[in-house]
């Protein structure tokens, strides 16, 4: 009899343990569950593509689905969009999460490549990467070389100044001043075209900030969130005036791949609709939702 009791006790304890694990799993599942669209995960990439396109995927799309992995190009020097996590050495950031979620929607695995920003367009066309998810703005110049998806979020072209520095009211106020920008960015094109500003280029936007802090340059123009990130880490900068403009940020792919473009647009639409883009944006930008057009 005593034996029997022991076994009942063991069973009850086991059940309790299992239940506890289950509860913990459910609790832990709360956060990432935001915007999980039920149904897509169980289907294969080929099924999803068939459903979205209404026909067998062709070209690059077929190649990626056959491979099961999408190769994403991403600039790791650009927090909080993407940067390196010190502990794991892996990429983290808004663009990284968007890439992962995009792959999830399309039923694919994701692999990151981390080239220099200026080399990404060439790499896309050479077939080194399938898609660039790197907060790229559409410019007429780039549109000649690449195809762009629908925008997945929107950022401001914003001017930053050292704390206590002048507040600008428009691009005219930059005339004659030295402004630091990342090389091959839209800010560079904008300043070259629209103002008498002396433009100084850096390999990546983040490298312009030390010069601003040191007083070598008068302003830095970059994406609003990038500057805000620097400020939130205690850097002595502030916004100078309102945003000069807002720009659409898109995924970029090799030219002439309509099926792959359609699949990516489907992923972006899904992420906009199920709220996962908003959730990722609020997560990475201290509660700012950058995914709304108006």
């Amino acid at each position: 009899m005593r034996n029997g009791k022991t076994y009942i006790l063991i069973t009850v304890l086991l059940l309790a343990a299992v239940a506890l694990v289950g509860v913990l799993a459910a609790c832990g599942g709360d956060e990432p569950a935001t915007g999980a669209s039920p149904g897509t995960e169980s289907k294969s990439a080929a099924d999803i593509a068939q459903e979205v396109l209404g026909h067998e995927p062709a070209g690059l799309a077929a190649e990626i689905i056959g491979r099961g992995t999408v190769i994403v190009a991403n600039d790791a020097d650009y927090p909080p969009q993407s940067s390196v996590d010190k502990a794991t050495g892996e990429l983290v950031g808004f663009d990284v999460d968007v890439a992962k979620r995009m792959a999830e929607v399309l039923g694919l695995q994701v692999e990151f490549k981390n080239p220099a920003w200026e080399t990404i367009p060439a790499g896309l066309n050479q077939g080194k990467y399938d898609v660039s998810i790197g907060s790229m703005t559409v410019t007429p110049e780039r549109a000649k070389a690449l195809d762009f998806t629908d925008p997945y979020y929107y950022t401001s072209g914003q001017v930053f100044v050292k704390e206590g520095g002048p507040q600008i009211t428009g691009v005219e106020d930059l005339a004659g001043k030295t402004v630091g920008v990342g090389a091959a960015t839209t800010y560079y094109d904008f300043l070259k075209k629209d103002g008498g500003a002396k433009v100084k280029t850096y390999v990546t936007d983040a490298n312009a900030f030390p010069d601003l802090a040191n007083g070598t340059i008068d302003f830095v123009m970059t994406a609003g969130p990038t500057g805000q990130q620097a400020i939130s880490q205690g850097q002595p900068f502030e916004f100078s005036g309102p945003p000069l403009y807002y720009e659409d940020l898109c995924f970029a792919i090799k030219k002439g791949e309509p099926d792959w473009l359609a699949l990516l647009n489907h992923a972006i639409k899904t992420m906009h609709e199920d709220g996962s883009l908003t959730a990722m944006s609020e997560n990475w930008y201290n509660g700012l939702d950058l995914t709304v057009k108006e």
Partner: protein, 407 residues
């Protein structure tokens, strides 16, 4: 025994079943936030941000920012309040709306009158709209280390990113050792080529007056010309240019010939190619000088005992030349350690690039560059030490000779 096992397996089955049920139970989705009523702002995030996914636990301590969705509401800025640890905070001036980064979210900033040190704080804000609505939002924040990066060097950043940068040092050492090995091979052939010229054409013509001999001499002169062209080209153009050229031009050539892209050189090997070709050119001259420094009598003696040309080089001249060039090669080796940093421009994640990445993530470039500098310095000290050891060992015969002279 049997019954025991039976009950145990029943228990196990029950446990598995329970696990299965819990696994299949749809995870309760967080209720999608019901749209707040028109006219009520909703706070979506703050700075300092306790939920910052990057886990950056510092706070400048001189301002608090609240991001919110206005939902059509207008804030009565003068009435908005900030409480820290339950006390209403003294502000430097009225809270104000900072230029928006987002079209959907607004940012309200409270500039604090006094700067707060690192520590644990409980925050509460009350947003007041123009039609009298009150929205309360509270959060805790534990700020670690120095609040803000007002200080030039952040020990915390250096500590946290140390191992990340250390991995770059491994790549730097790999680059250096592989490149110097290839460079020595290039230099060996380069120096032999440079030394293959024994006399001028005019001297040869004056001596032999034979067209056949002249023709053989032209063919025999090719190694000299190739080696001279090589050293001239690679010593005459910047190393940085060579790195860019090899990394970017080879793929163009591959594309031109219609070869697959998998033939493109990976950045690491493009870097090794550029470094070893460049250093090979410099070492060519070093080796040449080393070979020429071997006394001529050694060559003549080797010839006298009937060694062939190649045997003479391999057994007599090169071993002695090797000893002579060690200091110069060691010098170039040290220089190469530092020149590997140039490869960072083609995305090889060696020391310098790693420290730049760390700097970009923390906006604390000076700290991360200091770590990289320490690594470079340590590496050069380490290798110079072993170079000195090697020199002493190679000079054993000289030491012995001196000993004997004394006796």
């Amino acid at each position: 025994m049997k019954r025991r096992a039976g009950i145990a397996s029943v228990a196990l089955m029950a446990a598995l079943l329970a696990l299965l049920v819990t696994a299949l139970t749809p995870v309760a989705l967080a209720a999608s936030p019901s749209p707040a009523p028109e006219g009520t702002p909703v706070v979506t995030g703050t700075i300092p941000n306790p939920k910052d996914p990057k886990g950056i636990k510092n706070w400048a301590g001189d301002r608090v920012q609240v991001n919110f969705k206005p939902n059509g509401a207008e804030l009565d800025l003068a009435s908005c309040q900030l409480f820290i640890d339950g006390r209403e905070e003294q502000l430097a001036k009225e809270p104000f709306i900072v230029p928006a980064v987002s079209r959907a979210t607004s940012t309200l900033e409270f500039p604090l009158a006094a700067k707060h040190k690192a520590g644990k704080y409980a925050f509460k804000v009350i947003l007041v709209t123009t039609d009298g609505q009150h929205v309360e939002y509270s959060w805790d924040f534990l700020s670690e280390g120095e609040a803000g990066s007002g200080s030039l060097v952040s020990v915390r950043v250096m500590r946290e990113w140390f191992w990340f940068i250390a991995e770059g040092a491994v790549v730097t050492v790999e680059l250096t050792i592989i490149s110097i090995a290839f460079a020595c091979v290039f230099a060996l052939f380069g120096s032999l080529g440079r030394l293959s010229k024994k006399m001028t054409f005019k001297q040869a013509w004056d001596r032999y007056h034979s067209w056949g001999y002249m023709w053989r001499m032209v063919v025999g002169r090719i190694p000299y010309w190739v080696a001279t062209f090589y050293t001239s080209l690679f010593r005459g153009t910047p190393l940085l240019l060579q790195i860019y050229a090899i990394y970017m031009v080879i793929p163009e050539i591959i594309r031109y010939f219609g070869l697959p892209e998998s033939y493109n050189p990976p950045p690491f090997w493009a870097g090794v190619a550029a470094l070893s070709l460049n250093y090979g050119a410099y070492l060519t001259e070093v080796f040449r000088a080393g070979i020429q420094a071997v006394p001529k009598g050694q060559n003549e003696a080797a010839w006298a005992i009937g060694l062939s040309g190649w045997q003479t080089q391999r057994r007599i001249v090169l071993p002695q030349a090797f000893k002579i060039v060690i200091p110069a090669v060691g010098n170039d080796f040290i220089a190469l350690i530092k020149d590997t940093s140039l490869v960072s421009v083609i995305t090889v994640e060696e020391l310098l690039r790693r420290s730049q990445l760390a700097g970009a993530a923390t906006f604390s470039f000076f700290s991360t560059l200091l770590v990289a500098a320490a690594f470079y310095w340590a590496l050069t000290i380490f290798f110079s030490f072993w170079q000195a050891k090697l020199e002493t060992r190679m000079a054993r015969d000289k030491a012995r000779e001196r000993e004997q002279e004394k006796k």
